[in-house]
Structures are given as C-alpha cells and as structure tokens.
C-alpha cells in the first residue's frame, strides 16, 4: 500500500506531468467517451441492437469536411477486435430547445436504428415514435433522406421532423465523404 501512496503524492506534486499523461493516453488509445446524460440509454441500445453484452467504443480520425459527424460524436463499436457497427450521438433542434438522438449503423454503413434519447420540449415529441423513425432504417451510403420524397412528415411536429430529416440526410452525405 505504501508503495502506491508515495506515487499518488508524486502525481499531486507534478500536476503538469499528470495532465501530459492523460492527454498522451487519450491520443494513443482514442477511446470514445459518451456524454454522461445519455450514456446509459446508448449502452442499452447498442447491447440490444447488436446483441452483445460487452463492447468498446473508439473514436474515428476524421480529417475531411463533414456536416454532422466529427470525432466527438461519431465512433466505431467493437466487440473484441472486430468492428460490429458505428454510432452517432448528436443533438438536433426542436422549436426552442435541442433534443438528443442516437443513430446506429452496421459495418456496411446502413442505418439499423435511430433513437430519440432526450426530448425536452412540449411540441414535436411525435418524432420519437418508432413508427416514424422506421422510415430511415435501411438507408445507407449513397441514399438520401428527403422530406416529402422518401420521408413523410407529421402534422404538428413540422420543426422537429424537418430538423431530424436534415440531420439524417447530412449523415448519409457524410458517410460518402468519410468512406
């Protein structure tokens, strides 16, 4: 025990070194951190969708211009050494506030599920219904999501419908760029 304690003191004294160490390890291992307010829900969705109990998330290095995805909201899902899918955890606008959503893609970059994680506003919560979100399932790289074309709206939830559809369309465009 004494052995560790002395090391602990060492860290406190050398704060700069500690920071350096954390930064360094972040770069080396590129582990992806989930926002803590949605962490549970995302974990549950991934487990259910990909039928796994253990998985790790890793950031993806993106050095191209993208609309939606970036290294802070897009990650790959790994089971042992194998990539089993991808996840986008992002926010979109409703009338006044933002809502949080999750998109899960399979290794072929096809949308397998979308979930509204936190919807904060009174109006527009209709988009959380799986019935509506299902329209996006199966869309993949080279597809588009266009309102009133392949995506139907919901009366009384126009703003959230528009904003969700735009995000998914942007994601599909991004996939092409990233791929």
């Amino acid at each position: 025990m004494k052995f560790y304690k002395s090391d602990f003191n060492f860290i406190i004294i050398n704060k700069g070194f500690f920071i350096f160490l954390i930064t360094l390890t972040s770069f080396v291992f590129l582990s992806f951190t989930l926002p803590k307010n949605v962490s549970k829900k995302v974990t549950k969705s991934i487990k259910k969708t990909f039928n796994v109990t253990n998985f790790t998330l890793k950031t993806i290095d993106l050095d191209v211009d993208t609309n939606v995805i970036n290294s802070n909201n897009f990650c790959s899902i790994h089971k042992e050494d194998e990539i089993i899918g991808y996840a986008l955890i992002d926010k979109a606008a409703s009338k006044m506030l933002d809502f949080d959503y999750l998109v899960l893609l399979n290794p072929e970059l096809e949308i397998v599920t979308i979930k509204i994680l936190i919807y904060r506003e009174e109006h527009g919560n209709e988009i959380s219904s799986k019935r509506w979100l299902k329209q996006f399932f199966g869309l993949k790289i080279n597809d588009r999501a266009i309102l009133n074309k392949n995506i139907d709206g919901i009366s009384g939830a126009t703003i959230s419908v528009r904003s969700m559809t735009k995000k998914i369309d942007d994601l599909l465009i991004d996939l092409k760029v990233v791929n």
Partner: protein, 383 residues
C-alpha cells in the same frame, strides 16, 4: 523511485484502456485537461443552462369593401424565451405585442419532464382546443388572418393559469394532455363572440371553481393527425356563485384533423359548445349570449413547386361555417351571428418560417343583408 513511476504509468494506461466506455470522472478529466475545439465547446454549451430566444409575428393589411378605410397593422409580434434549468426542467414564455402597443404574456410555464412519457406543467398555458389555439404561430396557417372559428367559437389565443400533464403512451402514436385551468370570468359574455370577452389571460384573474381541459391526439396513420379535445367547467365570479345568473356552465368539445401528403395539405375542425344557465345570465347581465356555439371549417392547399424544395407556393381555399347563436334560451336567435366565410388566396413560403400571404374573404350570414367582403395581405415570420 524510477520503478514506482514506471508502475504508475502502466497502471494509468491500463485504467484508461479499461475505461474506453466513459465514466463521469473520465468526462471531467477530459474537459479539465484537454483544450476544446469549437464543436466541443458548443456541445458543452448546449448542455449548460442557456436562454433560447425565438419570435413570431405578422404584419397585415386589411381592406374591407364599402366605405370603411383600409387598415395596416403590426397585428402581433411575439418574443419566445426558453430556459433549460436541467434536462428535466424547462421554463417557457411568450411575450406578445399586439397592434404594437398592447402587451400580453401569452404563455409562462414551468415544465418538469418526469420521464419520456410524462411531463408535469404549471403556470400560464394554452388551452388545447382544436388546431390553431395551440399552433397559432402565424406561418403555420395559410390565410393572413386566423380562421374565424378560432376567434368566435374557440377564443384564440385562449390561455389561463393552471396545472396539468402531457405526454405519450410509450411508443403508441398518441399524445395526451390534461389540465386543471382557471376559467372564463362571468362578465362580458355576449352573442356576437360568445366566450371571447371572458378570457382572463392570467391577469389578476378571479377563480371560484376550477375547470377541466383535455386533448388526445392520434398520429398513427402516415400524414394524418386527429385530435379530440374537451373543456368543462363553470365561469368564474368574485360575487356570490349561488346568486341567480351569476355564472354559466361551459361544455366544449372539439374534433380536428390535419392531413399532409407530399404537395397537398388539408385541415379541418369542428367545435361545439353548450352553455348552461344562459337564460338567467342574460337577464341579470342584459346580454344576448347563445346557449350553443358551434362552428367548423375545412381548408386545403396545394404547393405547386417541387415538394422537396423549401420554397412553397400554395394556392388555398378555406370554408367556414359558425354560429354563436346555434341555440338560444329564452329569446330568438340573431341570424347575423350565423356566419359563413370563404377564404381563398395564395400562401408563398420563401423559406421555412418566412411567408408572404394574400387572400380574399367572401363573407355572408343567414340574414338577407350584405356582409362586406375583405381583402388581406401580409407577411408572417417565425424564427
């Protein structure tokens, strides 16, 4: 010492690896120790407490046939504010300027979202009845002016102070709302516009008995949304509730439907209101309030531009039939209150939330007299 350091570094690296999936501490460390890029700091800001600002409004030009001169008016300009206390607790308010100089607070309520299916709300809120009272932002309706049914039958914008719940039933395509509201005040109710003058709007409002309001929306069929609303209770008085003709009872039922398929959009609603005790009320207050107010409208529009474009150019038509003397108790109904309005025009949305409107209204009633028709033009914004 050197050995100790090596062990420590190894331990740290291992722990970092083990926590690929984030924990609370991890977030704190990364935030504290890493520089943020623009998107990171924006994401962080969105989580933080923040005031959101919005607005909607309309500027109208109305020209009535006949000798009356035209009118130009900043009909309404409304500022919206939202504040996110936490992910679960929000505050919303709408501050309205009507005709430039009348100031109202149209909504001011706290909402506590207990879970994804239930929110508890309290404060000054909209009574869910029909379509327009809840969705009253100017670009959401085709015509320059709101439907007349939503003026004389449903007294839009109808808002009172109360407490209630709203939410959905899991993944079922239903939205529910239920409230206990303060009611209309008993003074000023009349034949021409029914309950309109009785709205207390949350301004030093008198309460003598609470009223109930509920709405159920169904959106399970693609493009279709159906609503069933109800409002029940007595009017409010600062006097003796038991006194003859002091208050009346209000029972309002509404059914609404909206349909949207590609370029085609249609909406309609039917509202019927039974008022009890109007005979005594009219005698005591020398008024002419009907005992049944009823009205409906149907409207349809078709966007002639490509459905996928943000610009929309929609010719539209709306037919309304409404009667604030659908029934009267103890006197003969005034046929001038049995009215029909046909509105046709063009709604040109140049961008979502920015609309130019122009329409013409053919007005008529059940008397043999002519009712002046009206030309309207205006802009509507919502940002």
């Amino acid at each position: 010492m050197k050995n100790h350091k090596l062990v420590l570094i190894t331990l740290l690296l291992l722990s970092h690896l083990a926590f690929s999936q984030n924990t609370e501490n991890d977030v704190d460390e990364t935030v504290k120790n890493n520089q943020e890029n623009a998107s990171q700091s924006m994401l962080k800001n969105k989580d933080a407490k923040k005031v959101t600002i919005g607005a909607y409004g309309q500027v109208d030009y109305n020209e009535t046939e006949g000798s009356a001169k035209g009118k130009m008016d900043v009909h309404r300009m409304v500022l919206l504010f939202g504040y996110n206390f936490t992910d679960k607790i929000q505050f919303f308010t709408e501050l309205e300027f009507e005709h430039v100089k009348e100031v109202y607070v149209e909504q001011a309520f706290l909402s506590y979202r207990a879970n994804q299916n239930l929110a508890v709300k309290a404060g000054l809120m909209l009574v869910p009845m029909g379509i327009i009272n809840e969705y009253h932002e100017s670009p959401t309706f085709y015509g320059v002016e709101r439907p007349s049914v939503d003026h004389d039958i449903v007294p839009t914008t109808w808002r009172e102070i109360g407490v209630g719940v709203s939410g959905k039933f899991g993944d079922l395509p239903f939205k529910y709302q239920g409230y206990i509201f303060n009611g209309f005040k008993s003074d000023g109710l009349r034949g021409k516009d029914g309950l309109r003058k009785g709205r207390q709007k949350g301004a030093n409002s008198v309460i003598s008995s609470p009223t109930l309001s509920a709405k159920l929306d169904y959106y399970g069929i693609k493009g279709l949304r159906l609503g069933l609303s109800g409002y029940f209770g007595n009017t409010q008085t600062s006097g003796d509730e038991e006194a003859i003709g002091e208050t009346i009872g209000v029972n309002m039922l509404g059914f609404d439907a909206r349909y949207n398929y590609k370029n085609f959009k249609a909406a309609g609603q039917f509202i019927t209101t039974s008022l009890s005790n109007t005979k005594d009320y009219n005698l005591v207050n020398t008024s002419n309030l009907g005992s049944k107010l009823q009205g409906w409208y149907l409207e349809a529009g078709y966007n002639v531009l490509a459905a996928t474009k943000k610009e929309k150019l929609s010719p539209f038509v709306r037919y309304e039939q409404y009667d604030t003397h659908a029934k009267t108790d103890g006197f003969t109904a005034n046929d001038a209150y049995n009215r029909q309005v046909t509105t046709f025009g063009i709604n040109y949305q140049v961008a979502p939330g920015a609309v130019f409107k122009v329409d013409y209204q053919l007005k008529d009633d059940k008397t043999s007299n002519d009712v002046n028709n009206q030309f309207n033009a205006g802009i509507a914004i919502w940002l």
